[in-house]
């Protein structure tokens, strides 16, 4: 199977990107797959233990489709891919690919380009029109409401619809997709990618209600009355704030989502008055938080035409290289540079933010200090500010990208009175996804807290399985 010596013969070939100067002039995707992916598939060793499959949250059967791609059997590869992942076109674009970290070739060299192969397979599927609705043969007559149309909600909806249930998805925003729609800029995920999948799902009988905020527009109890089961997949949307001096008095300090949402709406053609629009144009931008959302802010700011972009992070810089012998096949904490960071930004680590400085009610700078991290006897990391290390950063626009705490409690969750876990997420386990309320299920970030799209898909699928079993006593859906 595969090519046993492929990993020795062929080098890893990555995506190619349009030049920075070129790509920051637009909001479209700018990466290109290598022309020949079959040799990349041939690099797969078809391991006795495919650590990649275990590393992948949806447990993609990676060796199998690598091999099929190597042999040019794309349609079969698509089938195998879809058997574990409803939306490979999302993960193929924006997944950080823990599978590649777990890849055995990564232990001794450069991992197989699993993510690219995934993307290639699914895009070929769309191109060849192999991807069509798969409506159920029989309907169960059971109705399920799904609150939230992010990847967890969509995954759950598609699975349940295919099991024959009447599925209605409620979305508070005006477009489907949750965080993928407005949280991720178009240059990373063009939105027609979501639309065509929605179209397929409609073909399978899923009904979408947009601009319908449960707990606001419709009460949650109404859903409970009307539906046989309700799945809460509303995400984890309460952002972490930075309550330091100046935060509540000065303008120009925004949560990342405020910037990203409006920007994407405008990209998608919505009319937004300049006055209501957050722009980085001709500004010194400081992004606080070193994660993916921070990167999205950087990419967006550069496209707006910022004068400078600086990203600061309270944690120390991760090492450039890790000792794979001690980490592989787990996810390594190492220095990564995103395409957005590549497009131009200063990065600084071990920095704490002390106060926002402003003029005329507008932020102009941030006072920062350097910190030092040490481990105490119990192994806990302790942060200490380094004396006399204060400095200020020029900042006309400050973007807070420090992650999300938990779901928004106001509205639906409070109304339902569903039990929460210690971190404020909706409590449910991963075997039956049931909340403290009868017939109410929870999945995705709303249950597990902020996480990856791929985890959300997994939870959506598994919750569907649980719901199906709840409704019919048994299930034909895969977990």
């Amino acid at each position: 199977m595969g090519k046993p010596t492929g990993f020795k013969e062929y080098d890893r070939e990555n995506l190619s990107y349009a030049p920075v100067a070129d790509r920051i002039t637009h909001y479209n995707e700018f990466s290109k797959l290598p022309a020949d992916l079959s040799t990349q598939g041939a690099r797969c060793m078809d391991c006795g233990i495919p650590f990649c499959q275990n590393g992948c949250p949806v447990n993609n059967i990676i060796p199998d489709w690598n091999d099929l791609v190597f042999h040019g059997q794309w349609r079969e590869a698509l089938e195998v891919l879809h058997s574990t992942n409803n939306f490979p076109e999302f993960t193929g674009r924006i997944c950080p690919a823990p599978c590649e970290e777990a890849c055995t070739v990564n232990l001794i060299g450069d991992a197989v380009t699993i993510k690219n192969i995934e993307l290639a397979i699914v895009e070929k599927g769309w191109e060849e029109e192999w991807i069509t609705p798969q409506p159920p043969e029989h309907k169960s007559g059971r109705k399920v409401a799904i609150v939230g149309s992010g990847p967890a909600g969509l995954g759950c909806a598609q699975q349940l619809a295919r099991a024959g249930h009447d599925v209605v998805v409620y979305e508070k925003e005006d477009r489907i997709g949750g965080l993928m729609r407005y949280g991720i800029p178009n240059f990373k995920l063009e939105k027609h990618v979501i639309d065509r999948r929605i179209a397929q799902m409609r073909g399978e009988g899923v009904v979408f209600h947009i601009s319908t905020h449960i707990g606001v527009d419709i009460s949650a109890s109404e859903l409970l009355n009307e539906y046989d089961a309700v799945v809460l997949t509303g995400g984890s949307e309460t952002p972490r704030d930075l309550p330091i001096e100046g935060r509540d008095k000065l303008s120009g300090i925004h949560f990342a989502m405020e910037l990203l949402t409006e920007n994407t709406k405008r990209v998608l053609g919505d009319e937004i008055a300049d006055a209501d629009f957050i722009t980085a144009k001709d500004k010194h931008v400081v992004v606080i938080g070193g994660g993916d959302t921070g990167s999205d802010c950087i990419g967006t700011s550069n496209r707006h035409g910022a004068i400078s972009v600086t990203q600061i992070e309270i944690m120390p810089a991760p090492p450039e290289k890790v000792n794979k012998l001690l980490v592989w096949p787990n996810w390594p904490m190492k220095m990564r540079t995103s395409t957005s960071q590549e497009e131009g930004c200063e990065r600084d680590f071990s920095i704490t933010t002390k106060r926002f400085i402003g003029e005329n009610g507008k932020v102009t700078a941030i006072e920062c200090a350097r910190v030092e991290w040490t481990q105490d006897e119990s192994g806990q990391w302790q942060m200490r500010e380094i004396a006399d290390s204060e400095f200020t950063l020029k900042a006309d626009l400050v973007l807070l990208a420090m992650g999300f705490l938990h779901p928004v409690h106001a509205g639906m969750i409070e109304e339902l009175g569903v039990n929460l876990d210690g971190r404020g997420n909706v409590a449910a386990n991963t075997s039956d996804y049931r909340t403290s309320l009868d017939k109410v299920f929870a999945a995705g970030d709303m249950r597990r807290g902020q996480s990856l799209v791929v985890w959300a898909i997994r939870e959506g699928r598994q919750a569907a399985c649980a719901v199906d079993e709840y409704l019919t006593g048994s299930t034909t859906l895969p977990r």
């Binding site: 060793m45 391991c47 006795g48 499959q53 055995t104 012998l325 034909t476």
Partner: protein, 1556 residues
């Protein structure tokens, strides 16, 4: 060893089945011999000579726990009329004339009442059969004189002789013999029915008017001492057949001793289960003119619980009584390998082919001596796996025995010395007063009937019938459902079926098996997964089905069998033959419609194996019953081919698992006595891999049509997933070929060579099936720990059916993932998951006990996912102690060893890292079978050592030099390997680089084959010999024997301990491997828990446990495993796979592809750089394991490991974690503790190898000047056949001191005279020469490591040396270097696996130069068949006077060339004359430009010089005439490698030149 003198109290008698011990598993082998006067001159001398032979064969027998306790010995002689006539008056018996009366030798119970009852029954039977009771005689016996120990006397029977007179109504002596036979059977069966439970059983040792048997549970010298009769000078006979037994067990009963009534046998009948079944299946169809109505009284012909030889004796007796001549009967039971034998006469072939339909061969290694008192003869199995040598004197004496030298016969009286050849027979007709040679004998029999004509008229070959129309393969989706219902997974397509269709053979895998047993799996498993393939180890050899294909046959005869005793009675039946049993769809249709082409002689009916799906699992029992009834009815309605079919399987119909249906019908028909009246053919969708077919065959399928497998292949082809160039026809052919090859492997690993005898032979052990279920449907199969029954099996089928036809999304478009061969999320469970591997590696690299604990917990806690039998165990509550009170981990690790992994299968880095780590710990690493670089014997500068304490000796003997052995702490004989027991191996040429070639003493680039058997171990006494040989090479090393767990392994182990093994390894079936056929990885052998428990119990019962250290091996992973192994009886534990994981293996399972990405199992220099393991990692791992074990020991209250060994009372079953399939398991037999009665339950004594009495001690003493300062010595000595391994201990001393280089030429010269015992000059070191005037036995020059051996007849001999045999079988096995000159002919397998020795011999038997990889062999005479099979290196020069050598040479790997002419040679030679004066050794470094003629001539000159061979002289004198008759045998690969090497050297030289 004084403590061993205090004898433990004795077990009362042979123990009953208990725990895992079952007396049914006993094996035996032995020494056999006879002496006869050709002219039938009776004398007491013959009896004495018989007893003398027994004495000289003592070393082929064995003693039990008590050295006075024999396994059995006896003698068969002609009925001594003179003696009985002389004593008759005392007995008040009036004896009729000689031949008019018979004597029954009867063993009776001691209990008076029981004895009387038995006697009454015997007397009644005599009267009923119309004969006259003349009287009884008490046989005088003297247990005291015989020095029988209490354990033997306790079951000593009362021995009486009954005298029976012939009634006038009985016409002639033959009819009288038949009546005596009937009396014996009738009385025997009736007494059996009484089921007395005496220690001494009732038994007829013999009852005949021609012969009588004196035997018992003796050592050979005890026979004459015990029976006063034998010492009486009036006791005369013209023949004496004797036998000395070596039983694996120490509960050999009196009645198990040989000879039986007609035979004595050395060997083992592998197919005995099937042979018994088929015999019983004939009950209805058998009729005999001679026996008439008496036939009905004889059943059962062989009852349950008899030994294989007893069954064989029963069969030959039946045939003989039914009118067959002795020779005819023997040919019927043990036919030669006739099919495909180009050299066999057509008439004889027809004879065998005709008889094939009458009787399936009794297959297995065998030297059988047989007699009816008028003729005496012997025959050898088709592969010549037992030795049998004979001599004839000028005064009409014939002596035949397992070896030569058993009687001192003056050389000048001997006129012929020869051997019995494979499949050949040797018969002396005493009444005619002549010897009948094999060819005469067989020609006469072959002429008795026009067999060719009969065959032409009655034989139908399925292949030759016109093609019929078979159904078309369905479209993909329909097929998918069917595949799913039959349990197909994606892996079946990927790993099993596709490779077979592409390459024509089964795929290879690696790294063993870590899936759960079928009964522990939560998933539906194929029915055949509950059956483990059995394999040969120790008591008989597996066969190499590739290199020795000539003995293999897949021919299957379908349909009714003729009346076995129908000699002349009826018109012959039609017979239908297929050349292999896998039928294509077209073949099957032919079979369905065969009635048309055979005038209705064949009538076929098809019965469905399916039933209505609505009935679900519960409907299966009824469906099975109706199926059996339908089959019975069909046979009664004269349908003589029954096809069981599951083609009806669909959404509405469930198929009964095919194996279940097949066996149920087969057993049902046997029970009804109808089975031989019909053929049983299976049309099934479920069979796809080799094991499925093997299981079906083993349970009675004569042919199998796997239609879904074909349709699957067609579907793959249609969808473009097979190579485009393959046509459908080709795909089908290759798939069938692959299955056929696979069946060969499965059969041959048990030593069975024909499908015909494999069919119905049930060579399986059930693991996880309830005994009730097995008894009903798989009658006679062993199952030890219970398990699932019909309800669960039916549920599995029903679940598969639901998956197929239900709505499950994952099965909509895809097959189940499988996950058996590679780990998959939705597949079968594995123990070694990604998490387990990761945690372990991170733990050892960071020395983190916490991570190790997480790792261990993931393996030990099997709640919810049962993996192993021990996973179901729990420890009983006990009083804990503080962990500080337990012996330290540093002590526990000394009991650890790493598994045998060869340098070659793993990289140098991986291999030496393990060695360093184990040496640091004080544990032991194992070389594996590829030798070890001598540099590693020297400690490293930092104090570490790369020397492996355990040196393995495997069947390939690669790198097994005297030096290698002398540097061992333990020498391990690998009898079998967990991943592929019963199979050989192959290291492909591309893996043999310079370095590996050097260690293995082979040529780089040339592939190396490890034969399936050790060619010097075909039976238990052979193993004893090898243990003895090895102990001699290194008297300080322990000798270990590695066995693989299977049912009966405990009994084999007992035999191994009796053969003086100091150490025994019981390996599980799941062990890792570098490369093995998938079938073997998954389906052969059983878990170590079972094998270890059985071994412990059997050794304790046998009072042998204390003498050996017991090691458990097989996927050991944690401290809990270690403690459990100890509690079940292990002194030590070995770790294979997990030790590799600790040093970086990540379970790629790509070892066989050489692409291991972490440098563990690869020789690729680039990949080897990726190796990251360190000795510290390995040390950390073992310390963790030991610490974990310590903590458990503390919990259980054990202060030391010694305290816990064998303490099974601390174990219990964890019932809380069982599931629907595992509920039925009963593990209590594993926890059974036999009553030790004070004997040891762990290792505590040392074996007595009997070395101090050896002649080598005196050799060493005399050779001191040479050993100390290389001063040359000459030693003179006499030698006889009990002087075994002559020169070996001496050579061990040489090698220990001087290494492989040894001493200078001829430093120690031993001039010996006489008949040498086995293994003359084994591992003879450089500088030692043995010059023997006399002859050798088997294994001369085994492992020769540089010495010289010369053998020639003594001056007094008058025979023509070149026409007589001078050395036995398997000479020069595994020789590395040195030279041999034999002035005479050698036996079979001359120079097998020779890697570098030079030899001249004047003729060889079959399989000469087999597997040879180097060295030079000159044969100045005839060769047997299959010369050069598997020969990948070295050169042979064969004198081919008849010009037909090519017919006898296996041309698969060699080419034949003439010897270059003298003119050419001279030109090349220039003035380079042969250096004859030095008498130095001939250093032949092969090259392509070598001067063959010069080499050949030099060797022959040397031969003449040393042996004074007249043959050699004659050739030299007529050189020009002889030279063209020589042929050079050159391996093709070797030639290529030589030319590559030469090209390289030239290039190097060129470079140097340019640089210079």
């Amino acid at each position: 060893m004084s403590h061993s003198m205090s004898r433990p109290s004795l077990p009362l008698s042979a123990p009953k089945k208990q725990g895992l011990y079952d007396p049914a598993h006993e094996h035996d082998a032995c020494g056999v011999g006879f002496v006869a006067h050709i002219k039938n001159r009776k004398s007491h001398e013959i009896v004495e000579k018989g007893l003398e032979i027994l004495l000289r064969l003592t070393h082929r027998g064995a003693a039990g726990a008590d050295p006075r306790e024999g396994d059995g010995a006896g003698i068969l002689i002609q009925l001594p009329d003179a003696f009985f006539r002389a004593i008759a008056p005392e007995l008040e018996i009036e004896l009729p004339a000689e031949g008019e009366y018979g004597v029954g030798m009867v063993f009776l119970p001691k209990d008076e009442a029981h004895r009387k009852a038995c006697e009454a029954i015997v007397e009644q039977a005599i009267v009923e059969e119309g004969q006259q009771l003349l009287g009884w005689r008490d046989v005088p016996c003297d247990a005291v004189r015989a020095d029988l120990p209490e354990s033997v006397t306790i079951c000593e029977p009362v021995i009486r002789q009954v005298f029976i007179g012939r009634d006038g109504s009985c016409a002639g002596q033959d009819a009288f013999e038949r009546k005596l036979y009937v009396i014996r059977r009738v009385a025997g069966n009736r007494i059996n029915d009484l089921a007395f439970k005496d220690d001494a059983k009732f038994y007829f040792a013999s009852m005949s008017s021609r012969t009588i048997v004196y035997k018992g549970m003796f050592l050979s010298h005890q026979v004459g001492a015990y029976y006063e009769d034998l010492r009486d000078a009036r006791m005369t006979s013209a023949l004496a057949l004797v036998h000395q037994r070596f039983s694996t067990n120490t509960f050999p009963a009196w009645e198990l001793a040989h000879p039986f009534r007609m035979v004595a046998h050395n060997g083992e009948i592998n197919t005995v289960r099937g042979n018994i079944n088929w015999m019983n299946a004939r009950r209805h169809s058998m009729k005999s003119e001679l026996l008439g109505d008496d036939l009905a009284k004889l059943w059962p012909i062989s009852g349950e619980g008899l030994s294989d030889t007893a069954c064989f004796d029963n069969a030959i007796e039946l045939l003989s009584m039914g009118g067959y001549s002795l020779a005819h009967a023997a040919m019927l039971l043990i036919p030669e390998a006739w099919s495909g034998n180009k050299l066999m006469d057509e008439k004889r072939k027809a004879f065998y082919e005709y008889h094939a339909a009458l009787m399936e061969p009794w297959d297995g290694p065998a030297a059988v001596a047989f007699t009816d008192g008028r003729q005496i003869g012997a025959t050898l199995d088709r592969n010549g796996l037992r030795p049998a040598r004979y001599l004839i004197t000028n005064d009409d004496l014939v002596v035949m025995a397992s070896e030569m030298g058993v009687l001192d016969i003056p050389e000048e009286k001997i006129v012929k010395k020869w051997r019995l050849q494979p499949g050949k027979m040797f018969l002396i007709d005493l009444e005619k007063g002549c010897i009948i040679r094999d060819d005469e004998l067989k020609a006469e029999l072959a002429d008795q009937k026009p067999y060719q004509k009969i065959l032409a008229e009655t034989q139908v070959h399925l292949e030759s019938l016109p093609n019929e129309v078979a159904p078309m393969a369905p479209e993909h989706d329909t097929l998918l459902n069917k595949q799913q219902a039959f349990g197909y997974s994606q892996e079946d397509l990927k790993f099993l079926i596709t490779p077979m269709a592409v390459s024509g053979q089964e795929a290879i895998g690696s790294m063993g098996n870590d899936n759960p047993l079928a009964v522990l799996s939560n998933r539906s498993r194929h029915m055949s997964n509950y059956f483990r393939q059995l394999f040969a180890q120790v008591t008989n050899p597996p066969i190499d089905p590739i290199r020795e294909e000539m003995v293999m046959s897949l021919t299957s005869i379908i349909g009714p069998r003729p009346n076995l005793l129908g000699l002349d009675m009826e018109e012959p039946l039609m017979r239908l033959e297929v050349h292999q049993p896998i039928l294509s769809n077209i073949d099957l249709e032919k079979l369905r419609l065969i009635e048309r082409y055979t005038d209705g002689k064949f009538r076929t009916t098809t019965l469905s194996m399916c039933y209505i799906a609505e009935q679900g699992a519960t409907g299966m029992e009824k469906a099975l019953t109706s199926l059996c009834e339908a089959a019975e009815n069909a046979v009664n309605e004269h349908f003589n081919i029954v096809i069981l079919s599951d083609r009806d399987m669909d959404a509405d119909h469930i198929a009964i698992p095919t194996l279940l249906a097949t066996s149920a019908v087969h057993q049902h028909l046997i029970r009804k006595g109808l089975r031989t009246e019909t053929g049983l053919v299976i049309e099934t969708g479920s069979a796809r891999e080799v094991h499925h077919f093997a299981a079906l065959a083993g349970y009675g399928a004569e042919a199998i049509n796997p239609y879904i497998a074909f349709e699957t292949l067609f579907d793959l082809q249609r969808r473009g997933q097979l190579p485009e160039h393959l046509t459908l026809e080709e795909i089908k052919t290759r798939y069938i070929k692959a299955i056929g090859k696979g069946l060969y492997k499965v059969m041959s690993k048990m030593g069975i060579s024909t499908y015909h005898s494999y069919c119905g032979a049930q060579i399986f052990e059930a693991v996880g099936l309830s005994s009730e279920f097995v008894q009903k449907y798989f009658t006679g199969t062993a199952t030890q720990i219970e398990g699932v029954g019909l309800a669960e099996i039916a549920e599995e089928a029903a679940r598969l059916h639901r998956n197929a036809y239900g709505n499950k999304q994952i099965y909509k478009h895809a097959l189940d993932a499988g996950g058996d061969y590679a780990w998959r999320i939705r597949g079968e469970e594995h123990t070694l998951t990604p998490e387990v591997v990761t945690r372990l590696q991170h733990a050892v690299r960071t020395n983190s006990r916490q991570l190790y604990d997480e790792y261990a917990a993931a393996i030990n806690d099997q709640t919810g996912r049962l993996m192993t039998l021990r996973g179901l165990f729990k420890f009983k509550d006990s009083t804990p102690i503080h962990v500080d009170e337990v012996e330290p981990a540093t002590e526990i690790v000394k009991r650890f060893a790493t598994g045998a992994m060869s340098f070659g299968s793993i990289s140098h880095e991986a291999h030496s890292t393990l060695a360093i780590a184990m040496n640091r710990l004080g544990g032991k690493s194992n070389t594996g079978e590829g030798g070890e670089e001598p540099e590693r014997f020297v400690p490293m500068e930092n104090g570490d050592s790369m020397r492996s304490a355990i040196k393995q000796v495997a069947s390939g003997r690669f790198g097994v030099t005297t030096e290698y052995l002398a540097n061992a702490d333990q020498i391990q004989i690998k009898m079998a390997q967990g991943a592929k027991p019963g199979e050989g191996g192959q290291l492909p040429g591309h893996k043999v680089d310079q370095r590996i070639g050097r260690v293995r003493h082979s040529t780089p680039g040339v592939g190396l084959i490890s034969p399936p058997p050790h060619h010097d171990i075909y039976s238990i006494e052979d193993l004893a010999q090898l243990i003895f040989d090895l102990k001699n090479t290194n008297t300080d090393a322990d000798i270990s024997v590695k066995l693989v767990s299977e049912i009966g392994v405990g009994t084999v182990a007992a035999g191994v301990v009796k053969a003086h093994a100091d150490h025994v390894v019981i390996a599980g079936h799941d062990g890792g491997t570098g490369a093995s056929p998938l079938t073997s990885i998954k389906h052969a052998g059983s878990p170590w828990e079972l094998g270890l428990a059985e071994t412990q119990q059997t050794l304790v019962l046998n009072r042998l446990r204390g003498r050996t250290r017991l090691q458990a091996d097989g996927q050991m992973r944690t401290g809990r495993d270690v403690v459990i192994a100890g509690l079940l009886g292990a002194d030590e534990v070995a770790f294979g796979t997990i030790a590799l994981i600790a040093e970086g293996c990540i379970m790629m399972r790509k070892c066989h592809l050489n692409t291991c990405p972490v440098g563990v199992a690869t020789q690729d220099p680039e990949l080897r750089k990726k190796f990251v393991g360190t000795p510290e990692d390995v040390v950390n791992f073992f310390m963790f394991v030991a610490e974990e074990a310590r903590e458990i020991m503390a919990r259980l209250g054990f202060r030391s490991f010694d305290e816990l060994i064998g303490r099974t009372e601390m174990l219990d079953t964890n019932d809380a974690i069982r599931h629907w399939k595992s509920q039925g398991l009963d593990l209590s037999p594993m926890f059974h503790q036999p009553k030790a009665n004070g004997s040891a339950i762990k290792h505590c004594e040392t074996q007595d190898h009997g070395l101090d009495v050896l002649i080598d001690n005196s050799l060493i003493a005399q050779a001191q000047p040479a050993l100390q300062d290389k001063t040359a010595v000459v030693i003179k000595t006499d030698i006889c056949n009990v002087d075994r391994s002559f020169g070996t201990m001496l050579s061990g001393k040489v090698a220990r001191k001087y290494g492989h280089a040894g001493l200078p030429e001829d430093t120690i010269v031993i001039k010996a005279k006489g008949t040498a015992g086995q293994s003359l000059g084994a591992w003879l070191a450089h500088g030692v020469t043995i010059d023997l005037a006399g002859e050798g036995n088997d294994y001369v020059g085994k492992g020769l490591s540089g010495g010289r051996i010369v053998i020639y007849p003594p001056a007094s001999s008058s025979i023509r040396a070149e026409e007589n045999i001078i050395v036995g079988n398997t000479v020069l096995f595994g020789a590395i270097a040195g030279e041999c000159y034999f002035n005479g002919v050698a036996g079979e397998r001359f120079a097998v696996r020779n890697s570098g020795a030079t030899a001249v011999v004047e003729g060889v038997g079959d399989h000469g130069c087999e597997y040879m990889t180097g060295g030079t062999v000159v044969v100045l005479g005839e060769t047997g068949r299959n010369f050069a099979a598997g020969m990948s290196g070295g050169i042979a020069y064969v004198l081919d006077e008849a010009g037909d050598f090519e017919n006898r040479c296996n041309m698969a790997q060699v080419e034949l060339e003439p010897i270059a002419s003298e003119a050419e040679a001279l030109e090349k030679l220039d003035h380079q004359g042969p250096d004859l004066e030095t008498h130095g050794r001939v250093n032949i470094k092969h090259s392509l430009s070598q001067d063959d003629q010069n080499i050949l001539r030099t060797l022959i000159e040397r031969h003449v010089h040393y042996t004074n061979s007249s043959r050699g002289r004659n050739i030299l004198e007529n050189w020009d005439a002889y030279l063209p008759k020589f042929t050079r045998v050159m391996p093709v690969d070797y030639k290529r490698a030589l030319s590559e090497m030469e090209a390289e050297m030239k290039a190097e030289a060129g470079k140097e030149h340019a640089n210079g």
